[in-house]
């Protein structure tokens, strides 16, 4: 495991562990408290499994009131709390701290109300993303954001990370698809932001907590918007002899005024990997493939397909296939959806990066990634949500070889720095968590970060909820993370640091 500075362990809290566990049993059914070493092991990591840390105790509350009482108790007794949904997060947002209470929301697993007339679903946050669509599809409705992990990830976790998926160019990310939440603040206050109505007044607290990575409050109920499924959906599978051509094709589609439901590019290493794994039948003699999915009425889709076909030809596509039915369309997606397991099959370990870049910079960034791959001596494969500019390089390494994780992390950091350099951002949908925390200064200066920390204070004055995540600790940006402490003494030791 790579070294990572986390907030200092509160020895007083750890010394009181037994007493704390005893007290926690007052607030929920005692079987919902886990504190034995074996029982807490499954909670020691999320999907960023290179980092592991056992929590002091795990609590699995069953009601909003229980969550409120637990948080209030922890607030009063200065105990850190790390909230956790399904644990599928890729940036370490649910990584426990040694002296924390890990608050698992897995028992909040019920859909509370399906309201077709107001076109929304009220649900508990532990319900999986896919279950929401499953619950309404009999009436032809669906919940739009569809992150790859939708079979397992929870809607509460989706809100924490503002998850997207492959259709966010047209349908937006989580933040555009939720109407309200019930949230409990660290001091136990239960609040509601939004509801079944289309918007709220006052500060946009719902917008603020979406993507806040569990730092501002714990969700206990969620209201999501549901949409009617489009009448017709078709896809084109396109092959190109260069990544540049595929990228230009994407730009031209958008410049022509077409907003596809999804656009995905995969590079040659990934095409090969996924085809071996999922047998999707992708063309083998191309440098990049582009999947373009279009939806709407039958005639609209047919017109758009024709227009995209023309644009693809203009951009020298060497392979072109239009889905004849849903089965074929899903086959186009098969390889893309299997991208992560396919790489998992090829390499003992991999790191998935998540920068977003201006679409037109795709070819440049991929060239840089190839260069960095040679520099760091690690293989990489790339998939790209081309519609919204979200790039997922998959860096392959072997954690059994000493120093490879560190090398992979350095490679990943170099990619993200380059994303920022070309006008992009560090993370599109996986969150900052611990993984990109120390890169925040690539995008923000001291004042920006201090402002965000001040917002955190408004919600959680003692900074007990999910501390050590998202924002760098113990140094200021200008110091580039290399603060020199000599015999515990630091320069200007009285100024606030983050």
């Amino acid at each position: 495991m790579s070294t990572l500075t986390m907030p200092p362990v509160d020895q007083f809290v750890l010394n009181d562990k037994e007493k704390i566990v005893r007290h926690l049993k007052r607030f929920t059914n005692p079987i919902n408290i886990i504190s034995d070493p074996e029982g807490i092991t499954p909670y020691e990591t999320d999907a960023l499994s290179a980092y592991k840390q056992k929590p002091m105790a795990v609590v699995l509350p069953e009601s909003t009131e229980e969550v409120s009482n637990i948080l209030k108790y922890c607030h009063e007794n200065n105990i850190k709390v790390v909230p956790r949904g399904s644990g599928t997060g890729l940036s370490g947002g649910a990584l426990p701290l040694a002296d924390c209470v890990l608050l698992g929301l897995s028992k909040f697993n019920k859909i509370l109300e399906i309201d077709f007339e107001n076109r929304c679903v009220v649900t508990q946050p532990g319900v999986t993303n896919l279950s929401l669509t499953k619950a309404v599809e009999h009436n032809g409705f669906y919940y739009a954001p569809d992150p790859s992990s939708q079979i397992a990830c929870s809607i509460g976790g989706n809100i924490a990370e503002n998850s997207g998926g492959v259709h966010s160019l047209k349908y937006g990310t989580t933040t555009n698809n939720i109407l309200g939440v019930e949230i409990v603040l660290m001091n136990g206050t239960i609040m509601r932001f939004g509801g079944k109505k289309l918007e709220s007044e006052g500060y946009d607290l719902l917008g603020l907590i979406t993507g806040s990575e569990g730092l501002l409050g714990v969700l206990t109920e969620v209201t999501v918007k549901i949409l009617k499924k489009p009448q017709s959906v078709k896809a084109l599978l396109l092959g190109f002899q260069s990544v540049e051509d595929s990228g230009q094709c994407v730009s031209d589609i958008i410049s022509e005024g077409i907003i596809p439901a999804g656009m995905e590019i995969m590079d040659k290493p990934l095409i090969k990997a996924t085809d071996n794994y999922a047998k999707a039948g992708y063309p083998k003699d191309v440098e990049a493939i582009l999947i373009v999915e279009l939806d709407g009425t039958e005639s609209e889709v047919n017109i758009l397909i024709k227009r995209v076909e023309e644009i693809a030809k203009k951009n020298k596509s060497s392979y072109l296939c239009i889905s004849k039915n849903d089965e074929e369309r899903l086959r186009f997606w098969l390889g893309r959806k299997a991208a992560f397991p396919a790489i998992g099959d090829m390499s003992p370990d991999y790191l998935c990066m998540d920068g977003t870049i201006p679409r037109k910079k795709l070819a440049e960034v991929l060239r840089e990634i190839t260069k960095l791959s040679q520099k760091h001596g690690l293989r990489v494969a790339n998939c790209f949500h081309a519609g919204d500019g979200n790039l997922h390089p998959l860096i392959m390494f072997d954690s059994n070889i000493k120093s490879e994780l560190k090398k992979a992390e350095k490679f990943g950091a170099d990619i993200l720095k380059y994303c920022v350099k070309v006008g992009g951002v560090l993370t599109g949908e996986h969150g900052v968590g611990i993984e990109k925390r120390d890169l925040m200064c690539e995008m923000f200066n001291d004042e920006d970060i201090q402002q965000q920390l001040n917002i955190k204070q408004a919600f959680d004055e003692k900074s007990l909820l999910n501390p050590g995540k998202v924002y760098p600790i113990l140094h200021r940006c200008a110091e580039g993370g290399k603060m020199h402490a000599h015999k515990g003494d630091t320069k200007f030791k009285d100024i606030p640091r983050f």
Binding site: N118, N162, S168, G172, T173, N176, L185, M191, R192, G195, K196, K197, L198, E199, S200, E201, G202, Y203, D204, L205, G207, L208, G211, S212, L216, K228, P230, Q231, I254, S255, G257, G296, S299, E300, L304, T356, P358, K360, H385, D388, N390, V425, T427, G428, E429, V432, M440, M443, F444, E447, D448, I449, Q451, Q452, N454, I455, Q457, A458, F459, Y471
Partner: protein, 404 residues
């Protein structure tokens, strides 16, 4: 009359606010002064951002535009139009409501008020289209958040917090907005002589099909007299449903809806592209309350409660139009009827909604709550958020709530 300062650079704004902060001087922030929304406040200085104007960058294929906060909204729309693009949340032109003539104001003002037009329920609100910003907080510090890309979860989404904060958190200097291609065709299906309940029912039914409607409003009889459209019958009530997209698809979807609502076939008609666009522009711009001297409020409700709300005030002196497929009611009441105003507020809260005073004479703006927030915890949290940006509460103090 407060002293007006009109800086022309971000640094000048920062220096001005820093200076005011150290001397605890209260500042009212002004864009183009096109609308007086919010509680009436008194500040010794005014910060006018009209000279911070201009398009910084516009990349049509990247679907965003970066502008200075004082840029006229009309200028932005003209530039986008050249590339056949638009702001798909349909910014309202509040100039008609306020002064009886067009004045879209500045983009910063639009962001501060988060006002969105008739397409809101389909395309999202302005807050769904802001990608990033730069601004100056109450301490005179430059703060920024977001970027130019759609997918971004790097740090808190402060852009959303700023949108609709009525200038109480930062003085905006730069804004990045998402842009979208314009729709090739717009047509409007009209059902005349229909009551609100039935209108809401056809909105709901339409939204439970795959026809993707992008506008749904209801005009009671007499409220549509202002329209000057050849094909619009303004003698009775109107339910209007908009379809947009490629022409062939729009025609197909209009026909699908006509079939679905066959029971109304005697009173159904269609507004073709040109008139359809004017119809929705007029609706988004609130031209039904042109230059109103009364109190105009915006009521947001879960759509199933809209009919109940209107029924309750049927015999009162209340003029209204329903938009956003039943989610929004624009209402006008006499300027001296504070009893009715309070009754509206009580009923809105009971039905799970909220109400914002959009235009009112000063004596009402002083006395009445601008918003309806009843949850004290929300107010406490809002105050803490305000203080996290503006500890001495010098930026638009009291514009949203007393003391915030």
């Amino acid at each position: 009359m407060s002293e007006i300062y009109s800086p022309s650079s971000e640094h000048e704004v920062a220096d001005f606010i820093k200076n005011c902060n150290s001397r605890e001087i209260l500042i009212e922030i002004i864009g183009h002064n096109s609308k007086s929304i919010g509680r009436l406040i008194q500040c010794s200085k005014s910060l006018n951002l009209k000279n911070l104007s201009g398009i910084i960058e516009y990349f049509p294929e990247e679907l965003y535009i970066k502008v200075k906060a004082g840029t006229p909204l009309a200028l932005i729309e003209t530039e986008l139009d050249k590339k056949n693009q638009e702001l798909s949340f349909e910014p309202s032109d509040m100039g008609f409501l306020y002064n009886g003539r067009s004045n879209k104001g500045s983009v910063g003002g639009a962001v501060a008020c988060n006002l969105s037009g008739s397409r809101r329920f389909r395309a999202g609100a302005l807050r769904d289209h802001i990608l990033g910003f730069r601004g100056i907080n109450g301490k005179g510090e430059i703060v920024k958040s977001g970027g130019t890309v759609v997918k971004n979860v790097t740090g808190y989404d402060v852009s959303k917090l700023i949108t609709g904060s009525y200038g109480t958190l930062v003085a905006l200097t730069e804004i990045v907005l998402k842009v979208q291609p314009k729709n090739e065709e717009s047509q409007t299906l009209l059902v005349n002589n229909i009551n609100l309940k039935k209108a809401l029912n056809i909105f709901s039914k339409s939204m439970q099909t795959s026809v993707e409607i992008s506008g749904a409003c209801f005009y009671p009889a007499k409220m549509s007299k202002f329209f000057k459209l050849n094909d619009l019958d303004t003698t009775t009530s109107i339910a209007a449903i908009r379809l947009e997209g490629p022409k062939i698809s729009v025609v197909e979807r209009v026909n699908t809806l006509k079939k679905l609502f066959d029971e109304y076939k005697k009173t159904i008609s269609v507004l073709e592209n040109y008139q359809s666009r004017i119809f929705w522009q007029n609706t988004t711009d609130l031209q039904f309350f042109n230059n109103s001297a009364n109190v105009v409020v915006k009521v947001i409700l879960p759509p199933v409660n809209t009919d109940q709300f209107i029924n309750k005030f049927e015999n009162e002196e209340l003029k209204y139009v329903v938009d956003w497929a039943g989610n929004l009611i624009w209402a006008e009441i006499p300027e001296n009827d504070s009893v009715l105003l309070r009754q509206l507020r009580t009923e809105v809260i009971k039905l799970g909604g909220h109400m914002t005073i959009i235009k009112a004479p000063n004596h009402v703006r002083i006395k009445e709550d601008f918003l309806t927030t009843v949850d004290e915890n929300i107010k406490v949290l809002s105050l803490k958020i305000k203080e996290s940006f503006d500890p001495k509460k010098i930026l638009n103090p009291g514009k949203m709530y007393s003391g915030i």
